[in-house]
């Protein structure tokens, strides 16, 4: 039997990642065994099963992979972009392209991540940057 001890102050990766976001820092996991990046944060690598995941900072560049505009009444917050973004590191995440009108976001648009901290809580958003839209 293997007994695992929990270090003082340790948390799961979700809470750690959120604390980093709340402090405005963008981190991404990378597997020390297979070398692939992992998002969302996990306790083990979903590609190879290794638990040797390491946190790395990244430049946040990516491309819009899929896009939709959620149609909402103005009273419910108005129309909203929801995109799936492929980071250059090879992982995909849901987010929003924040500096364009919702229905102006196109697949292939190059984007850069930033952390929006609102009421103390960090959230990964993206802004469109110059580049070829495929």
């Amino acid at each position: 039997m293997t007994t695992q001890t929990i270090e003082e102050g340790a948390t799961g990766v979700q809470a750690f990642h959120q604390r980093e976001l709340d402090a405005g820092r963008l981190l991404l996991q990378c597997c020390g065994t297979c070398g692939r990046h992992v998002y969302y944060p996990r306790e083990g690598c979903p590609h190879c099963g290794s638990t040797a995941l390491e946190w790395k900072s990244f430049n946040g560049l990516g491309t819009v992979h899929a896009v939709t505009t959620v149609r909402r009444k103005p009273a419910d917050g108005g129309d909203l972009n929801v995109s799936l973004i492929d980071l250059d590191e090879g992982v995909r995440l849901m987010s929003r392209v924040d500096n364009l009108a919702p229905d102006a976001v196109r697949i292939g648009q190059r984007v850069r991540a930033r952390v929006q901290v609102k009421d103390g809580r960090g959230l990964v958003l993206f802004d469109a940057i110059e580049g070829d839209a495929a």
Binding site: T68, V82, L93, M94, S95
Partner: protein, 392 residues
Amino acid sequence: MKTGLDALRGSAAIAGVATFGCGETPGFTDMELLARSAHAAVADAGLTMRDIDGLCTASASAAMWALPVVEYLGLNPRYIDGTMLGGSSFIAHLLPAMHAIRSGQCSAVLVCYGSAQRSAAFGRREIVAARRFLDPQPYEHPYEPMLPVSAYALAASRHMHEFGTTREQLADVAVAARAWARLNPEAFMREPLTREQVLAARMVSDPLTVRDCCLVTDGGGAYVLVSAERARDLPKKPVHVLGNATAVWNRQISSMKDLTITAASQSGREAFAMAGLAPKDIDVVQLYDAFTINTLLFLEDLGFCPKGEGGRFVADGAIAPGGRLPVNTNGGGLSCVHPGMYGIFALIEAVRQLRGDCGERQVKNAHTAIAHGNGGMLSSQATAILGTADAL
């Protein structure tokens, strides 16, 4: 003697089916809709509730749903499967139940579902809010996608981008479903629907309008599975299970590897292999059409057309009555019934077609059918290949 899944091919048959309350049934609870369907399906099989010694069921709300169902129906099942994979569950329940019947663990399995989703006082808004706490998705919910429709809309955006699929082609899926529904007295929406009406309908999550989305109805459905030998002695024409397989690749749309290829490509391949059949051998097709994009994806992934060709395959009435392939002959989740989870209704319609019970919408000389269930956000996929005795 055959071993493995080949040995199970055709070993069990669906002997009874029933639906109840498809549409709007204020005053009925989930359990009451389930129970009415269950009693009717057992009677349809020529059995009584005392003959039922296996139970499969699932609920989108109650985590221990098999318990109240056992209690309510007064069952004492030796085989219980409460696996909850979303809307595909009731098709995924087949193969384990076939194992259980084959081994002698049980002899008559009741698969049943009911939901008062349309009429329930506890509304959809409250349910969405409750699930955010009970089943959190911390990497999607903060972006406020309108789930599930936004997830399917994202997949549709990708299919359009990669393959040139058009909104008109998606609309043709809804138009075909409505044309079938107009032939089905049980269908909830039966007024005529045109491509232009689908395109002009209220946009929900681009590119999907409200007419690209399934209905929200009440309804219950149930079926009874027994051994093929026993089914021969029961009153209704047996519908044999020739193949069944289930696959899950992801839960969230953001974790789907390729938004245009679903796990149906795996479940379909495995179910067809077990059945020893190919798509060209199938007479009737029932696909879980929660959204119009689903029908395209599943026609492709199950092998009815090449990847990317779904839009062109369904255009201009090709899957409508009189078209080249009869798809969703009850009107589907888009026009017939969709009480939260539709999978069991796809299977029941396949059985009714193979029995020849479908009246005006009956597909002539139907000996084989496919019923395909989807769950979550294109997450879980379960495929069943069914056939009459001629197909054994």
